[in-house]
Every structure is written in C-alpha cells, then in structure tokens.
C-alpha cells in the first residue's frame, strides 16, 4: 500500500529542459544567465518545499543559510582552497548551522516558528553586515572567480549552467525519492499533526532535524554556487526578501507537490530580470501575480489542479471495491 505513485517521465522532461535551455540560449549570455539563476531558484524552492511543503515549517532564514554557505565557501577559496572542496565544507557547515537554527521548531509551531525564523534571518543579515573582516560588510565581495576545473582552467559560462542544471535535476529527484520513502511519510505525518505523529511512534524531534539538515543542504549548495555565478555577493544577496521570494515560489507553484515549487521558480525567478526595463511596474506585476494565485489557486498552481477538488470528493464519496 504505497500511498504515492511515482512517475519518472516528468523528471526526464525537466532534465531535457534544464540541460537544453542553457544550450539553446548559449548565444545570448544574458538569457543564459537568467536560465542559470532560475535553475538555482529551482534548487532553492525544492529545498524550501521539503521544509514548508512537506514538514509544515516555514523557515524564513532559508536565504540566510544560503548566505552562510556562500560566505564560507568564498572565504575558503580566498585562503587558497580549491572551489569544490570549499563548497562541500561550506555547505556542510551551513547545513549544520541550519539544523541548530531549526531547533526552535521543536517548540514552536506554525506561525510562531515563522516569526522566530524571521528574527534569526535578521540576525544573520546583521552578522553579514557587521563581521566586516569576513564578509567585507555592506560593500560586499566582488570579482569572485569562476570555479576551477580539475586538470586546469576554469568553468565556462555554459558548463557552469550545465552544472546548475545537473544540481536542479538532482534536487528534484532527491525530493521525489524522499517523498516516496518512509522519511517522506514521517514528514507528511508531522506536517499534518506532529502530536499524533509522535503518538504513532514517529521520533518527531529527529525527523524535523533531519528535514532541516537536508533542506539547509539545498539552501547551502545553491548559495555556494550562486556566489561565483554572479561574481558578487553582499548581505543583500541573502536577506529576508530572498527567503520570502523562495517561499513565494513554493506557495505560488504549490506547496507539498514535487513540481509546483519548480514551476513557481521557473515562472517567478526570471521576472525581475525580464522586467528590468519596466522598473516601475515590476513590483506591480509581481504583486498582481501573487494576489491572483492566492485568490484563484490558494493551494498554488500545481495544488489547484490536484488538491482543490478533494473536499468535494469527500462529501460525495462513492464506495470503492477492494483495493
């Protein structure tokens, strides 16, 4: 009695799109860059989805964790490390910090945890501003070199895009595997009612901290790759608005679905870039989109299709034959 059905063809389609888009856009570096940022956003929204969509926690310090990883990675590169081991150490370290910052979720539920995480995010941002010798403060760190490749040379723009595509695809596959594994069932049970989950024998504390580790891993790897991709980071790159944006992609696309948050990222991440020439109406378009989705599709784009009919179904339940 597996409760969820896994189909892998959407993953194949997504992989084709993720790898194909940078290749198709390789003639135009600007559009390829937007595609790359979108792929990082897919990775981030997928990680946020694990926490917000499947575990029921809304971590507003998600961007901050990405920032810790970015600064740690760049800091290690600055003292002579090669990028890839630096990214590994930086991401792992930031994920462990994410677990520690997730500890309040053991006591606080729903909105109260969100408020707490908002404060944590603010403190992280202040930390980025004030520890000038580590982060260069508000000035930020610029001219971050592209990652080197084993055997000499540095990653080209296109190959960097393909690395981002690989990670976005891997992220979505990992989420799918998690959701279909016992771990995913435990998280969903915790999201629905953590007291009942505990009574059913689920170690809620341990599962929440696991979820924070893996969710923070998504944030951290995205953060570490974001820094050289843009070549510039500052406390602004990982502030509360970034967390909010990632959350929005999840809510907009459909929390608690595999593809909703990825769709949300694909639709929302490019908007600031595409509307750069219409600076004045950019935020208006953004706001209208949000209002539209909240009013018309409260469970998000993917959720609207899949989840909305459920209550009606329950009311006119037809007895079904043996399983």
């Amino acid at each position: 009695m597996r409760p969820y059905i896994t189909r892998w063809w959407p993953h194949v389609l997504f992989a084709l799109a993720a790898f194909g888009t940078p290749l198709l856009l390789s003639g135009n570096r600007y559009f390829a860059f937007i595609a790359g940022i979108t792929l990082i956003s897919v990775l981030w929204s997928t990680g946020m989805n694990l926490l917000y969509g499947y575990t029921g926690l809304m971590p507003m310090m998600f961007g901050g964790i990405a920032g810790v990883s970015a600064y740690a990675t760049i800091g290690l590169v600055a003292i002579g490390w090669s990028f890839w081991p630096a990214m590994l150490v930086g991401s792992l370290g930031a994920s462990l910090i994410g677990v520690i910052l997730g500890l309040p979720s053991l006591r606080l539920r729903g909105f109260y945890f969100t408020l707490c995480s908002l404060v944590i995010q603010t403190v992280i941002t202040l930390g980025f501003v004030y520890f000038v010798n580590l982060t260069n403060g508000d000035t930020g760190i610029s001219q971050i070199p592209l990652p080197e490749i084993p055997g000499g040379g540095r990653l080209s723009g296109l190959s960097y895009d393909l690395v981002l595509a690989a990670l976005a695809v891997f992220g979505v596959i990992l989420l799918t595997l998690i959701v279909n594994a016992p771990f995913g069932r435990r998280l969903i049970a915790i999201r629905e009612d953590d007291g009942l989950a505990e009574t059913l024998g689920i170690n809620v504390t341990r599962q929440k901290l696991f979820a924070f580790f893996i969710g923070s891993m998504f944030a951290s790897i995205g953060g570490a790759l974001y820094a050289p991709y843009l070549g510039f980071i500052s406390p602004r790159s990982f502030d509360v608005l970034v967390s909010l944006n990632i959350w929005l992609m999840v809510a907009f696309g459909g929390r608690g679905t595999i593809w909703g948050p990825a769709i949300g990222a694909v639709l929302l991440a490019p908007i600031p870039f595409l509307l750069q020439d219409y600076y004045t109406i950019k935020d208006v378009v953004y706001g209208l989109l949000i209002i539209g989705v909240i009013v018309l599709l409260p469970a998000g784009i993917a959720g609207g299709v899949r989840r909305a009919p459920r209550p009606a179904q329950a009311a006119t339940l037809k007895p079904e034959r043996a399983r």
Binding site: P3, P182, A189, T199, L200, N203, E320
Partner: protein, 236 residues
C-alpha cells in the same frame, strides 16, 4: 508481572493537583475501565502513562520496563498507545495514507493480510481512498482504532471511544470494543456507565485526582462513595 504497574502517580499543574498518588495495575488481557466526573484526572492519567506529561511523578512500569520520563514515540514503540478524547486522524490524508503513517515506525507492524482483515472487521472497506476528514465521526473513530491495531500494541488506552456518537453508533462501537478485547489489552476511560458495565473486567474510579475505588463493575456500582460522589450526580 502486571502489564501496567503505575505506583504513586502524581501530577500538579501549578497549584492544582490533577493526580495524587494514584496506583493502577493492569494485567495482560484484562479490560480496565476508568471512570470519574469531569476534571477528575482521567485524561491526565492517560497523558502521564503515554509520556505526554514531562513533570509527572511516581513510578510506571510497562511490561516490566520503567517508562516515566520517556518520550511518547518511545512509549508507543514499546507497545503502549492511546487514542484521544477528540477524534484525531490526519484529515487531509486519505485513509490509506493514515494507515501508512501508522505503519512507518511501528515496531511490530501487522502484515498486509492482517491489515486487510482488520479493515474488513471495522467495516472500513472502500472508505479509505478519500481524505479521512470527510469520513463520519464514527468512521474516524474506527480509523483511529485501525491505526493503532496495525501497530499490534500490547496495551491500547481509549479515551472516551464513544464520545459524540449517536445511540445507534454507540451500540455498534460497544460491539466492536467487545471484539477488540480479543485483539489487544484495552484500557478504557468512559463517562457512559453502559459501556463500562458491558466491557470492563475491573473499574478504577477517580475523584479530584485520587483513586477512591478499584474493583469489578458490580461492586463499584454498589459502592456508596462512588454512588454519592459520581453516579448520583448528573455526570454519570
């Protein structure tokens, strides 16, 4: 060795003593009922047994192992599980997903044949494909039972299992609970004397956090203190 052996269980909420030195023993395969007026500490007692109250005092042995101070999931894994006074299922998840959630960390899970048999026994065939929140209260109560039974608990504590049911459903539930006794050991909190009389082998009476009587239902119903303090009142 008793299945459950609670000695001197006390619980204070600030200035209120919810339980005072309560001793309760329950043997395997014995159905123990617990009655008492509102606020007498029945649910508090179950909460203390199942690890929901961190500050409870006393000594609790379950299957010979001390469980006081252990977390609810660990006590559930040891085979002591409970239901809630207000029905509690994962309303947004389908019945099958509810069962899957109950099985995921079960230490002695029922095999698929057993699960199917239990579903049929509870007459929930064909009702588990849709979100559990859409089921009737009676069906949700039965789903609650099902989610415990697939874990094959050693002791199942039921907190007012007929609460909110219609008189017709109460009769059906009593019939189910009578059969349930063959499946696992049952501890039963009840307000309704009818349920206690028909199901319990032995009854413990709580009054203002203290145990005032302990014995077979027939003796309890004749006990002067119980009649004066509880049965004579409008509560019973």
């Amino acid at each position: 060795m008793s299945l459950l052996d609670a000695k001197g269980v006390s619980m204070r909420f600030g200035g209120v003593t919810a339980l005072r030195d309560v001793d309760v023993r329950q043997e395997a395969n014995e159905t123990l009922g617990m009655i008492g007026p509102n606020g007498s500490g029945k649910t508090t007692f179950v909460n203390a047994m199942t690890g929901h109250l961190k500050t409870a005092q006393g000594k609790i042995l379950f299957d010979g192992v001390p469980i006081l101070g252990r977390r609810p999931f660990a006590i559930a894994s040891a085979g002591l599980t409970r239901t809630y006074q207000a029905v509690r299922v994962f309303g947004q998840l389908t019945g099958h997903e509810n069962i899957a959630a109950a099985l995921v960390d079960a230490t002695r899970p029922l095999d698929p044949t057993g699960v199917a048999e239990t579903i049929a026994w509870l007459n929930l065939d064909g009702r588990l494909g849709a979100p559990a929140g859409g089921l009737t209260l009676f069906e949700q109560r039965k789903l609650e039972l099902l989610m415990r039974l697939v874990q094959r608990p050693k002791l199942l504590m039921l907190d007012e299992p007929v609460g909110g049911l219609s008189s017709h459903e109460v009769r059906a539930m009593i019939a189910l609970l009578a059969e349930l006794k063959a499946r696992c050991t049952v501890f039963l909190i009840e307000h309704t004397m009818k349920v206690i009389r028909e199901l319990a082998d032995r009854v413990v009476v709580l009054l203002a956090g203290e145990k005032i009587a302990d014995g077979p239902p027939r003796d309890i119903l004749a006990d002067k203190r119980v009649v004066e303090n509880y049965l004579g009142s409008h509560d019973a």
